[in-house]
């Protein structure tokens, strides 16, 4: 893993680059480990409270530890009518966790998301930002099997 300090410092000269830095850290760790906030605050000349405020504003960023595979399930209207609810339930049952939780082995985190912009093929989920489209509950085991 790349050192958080180094990741963030590489954005130092980018005005307003804190969000880019957060994305870069999250790409590496799947969430923003605690020290991210202090390091980012110091790097971008703002306070920790301000950095924390930024990090918690954006739903794509997480300050809570997440699993290796973050499954975000869209439930916006087009996905909703295409059966998102059943799909969500299927994931919850398959992983034996509720939305917002992480499996005990730290492998999967289930999250809801709003639209991810793949509405031609609903319902849609993303796994670590890669979209999987046109899913139905029956495909859940196969989708999970892709995560190795």
């Amino acid at each position: 893993m790349v050192n958080i300090q180094n990741i963030i410092l590489s954005f130092r000269d980018k005005p307003g680059g804190i969000i880019e830095a957060f994305h870069a850290v999250q790409k590496e760790y799947n969430y923003l480990p605690e020290e991210t906030i202090a390091v980012a605050a110091g790097t971008f000349g703002i306070s920790e409270a301000q950095a924390f405020g930024v990090a918690t504003f954006y739903s794509y960023l997480s300050v809570a530890k997440r699993g290796k595979y973050v499954i975000r399930m869209c439930e916006s209207a087009p996905c909703h009518i295409a059966g998102a609810e059943a799909l969500i339930k299927a994931f919850e049952e398959a992983l034996e966790i509720k939305v917002g939780e992480t499996t005990a082995d730290g492998k999967f985190t289930l999250e809801l998301t709003e639209c991810v912009g793949q509405c031609q093929d609903t319902p849609v989920i993303t796994i670590n930002s890669v979209p999987y489209v046109n899913l139905d509950p029956a495909q859940v085991p196969a989708v999970l099997a892709l995560c190795q």
Partner: protein, 408 residues
């Protein structure tokens, strides 16, 4: 019958989006070249004359917007709003994925018009794969020296729908919480880092190369006179063909759903269509012959907005869908202004109560007054538009609400 007319998607599937040479061969960057031979004021006058209106929520005359940038501003910015977050919308993604250079060329044209040296593309965080493509495209354009002294940087959003609002977007580029600013000042006067800033979306910029190349008269003659040109639409929901299309703005909703979308899936009957994304109004069958241009849509309480066309068949539960939409706004409200922060939350709670069959008439009354106040009192477009689905469904589909009440 209306046919597809491709301006922004003119190169779609005809060129390799990863090869700038393909784009050049198809006439790419000739618009920019032509623009650079014009004076700034002439260029702005041309765009004004074309009557190109922003392909986003406000449909403001593009050239007029540019003209607000003070001519003596030492620093100004061109910002591309690529934060399309409206559920049912993915047209900007299609445009960029199929032809990224047309966006860059459009931004560079704008850069020339407002004397800007720096552009930003604010791309939603859900599209990391598109960001890669964009960066490749920028590298290629830069490598060929096509952008001249204008540079473009891509910034990623973070899953905040409100950042589609131009001032929230600017806040986000500055590294802040994406909370909208009050206006005035407008970005044209004081935007990014308090400098004059033009914010347009992908589709607006992508129109520019053709307009410059073919002249404003050419463009103004296409589609509806008050909203000329084409519109890229994305069809979702219960249509047979869930496709993206580009049509002149004279096309009607019925044509779009039935001619392009192939009608309702599985031979079912039409019930409602929501245009412009989740903040759009619900339109019943009786209004389907309305053309899609911005003003006509506004006339029926809808919005063209992002060009999302979300179709619902006869089996769909309007109250349930509206409840789900209320949840969307509850989730996406930034929380800065009172009526939106509290209003979206309470509206969702009331919708849930109705949806669960626990509500009484008073609840609908409360929902109505709340929605009416939000429309007029919220700080930004998000809160102002959030009640539209509620108010339009209450208007056109009231019996469905009534049927849910405990005491009818």
């Amino acid at each position: 019958m209306t046919e597809e007319k491709r301006i922004v998607l003119r190169n779609a599937d005809l060129i390799n989006p990863k090869k700038i040479e393909d784009y050049m061969q198809a006439g790419g960057y000739q618009g920019l070249e032509k623009a650079r031979l014009m004076s700034r004021s002439d260029l702005i006058a041309e765009i004004k004359k074309s009557n190109l209106r922003g392909r986003g929520g406000a449909a403001f005359n593009c050239g007029l917007k540019w003209s607000f940038v003070p001519t003596d501003a030492p620093v100004s910015y061109v910002v591309c709003n690529f934060d399309e977050g409206e559920p049912g919308t993915y047209k900007d993604r299609i445009i960029v994925q199929k032809d990224p250079q047309s966006l860059l060329e459009g931004m560079a044209i704008c850069g020339h018009a407002v004397n800007s040296k720096q552009g930003y593309i604010y791309c939603r965080g859900e599209y990391p794969y598109v960001v890669e493509l964009l960066n490749l495209a920028i590298d290629q354009a830069r490598g060929k020296g096509l952008l001249g002294d204008f540079d473009i940087e891509v910034r990623m959003g973070g899953g905040a729908y409100v950042c589609g609002e131009e001032t929230a977007l600017i806040e986000s580029i500055e590294g802040h919480r994406g909370e909208p600013r009050f206006k005035p000042p407008f970005p044209g006067v004081a935007g990014l880092w308090a400098q004059p800033t033009v914010v347009n979306n992908v589709e607006t910029f992508a129109n520019l190369p053709s307009i410059v190349l073919n002249g404003p008269e050419w463009f103004a003659a296409i589609g509806a006179p008050n909203y000329p040109g084409t519109k890229v639409l994305t069809l979702t929901g219960d249509v047979a063909n869930r496709v993206s299309i580009e049509v002149p703005t004279t096309a009607t909703l019925r044509e779009i759903i039935y001619d392009f979308g192939g009608g309702i899936k599985e031979g079912k009957k039409f019930k409602a269509v929501q245009v412009g994304g989740t903040s759009g109004g619900f339109i019943p069958e009786s209004l389907l012959d309305t053309p899609i241009d911005f003003d006509s849509m506004r006339g029926i309480g809808a919005t063209l907005g992002t060009g999302a066309v979300f179709v619902m068949d006869e089996t769909r539960d309007i109250v349930d869908i509206t409840t789900r939409i209320a949840k969307f706004f509850e989730h996406e409200s930034c929380g800065k202004c009172n009526p939106c922060r509290e209003g979206t939350f309470r509206a969702y709670e009331i919708m849930k109560k109705i949806n669960n069959g626990k509500a009484v008439a008073q609840d609908i009354e409360n929902l109505t007054i709340l929605s009416q106040v939000m429309e007029k009192a919220c700080l930004c477009g998000l809160g102002q538009a959030a009640p539209a689905p509620i108010l339009t469904t209450l208007k056109h589909f009231y019996p469905e609400y009534q049927a849910r009440l405990q005491i009818h």
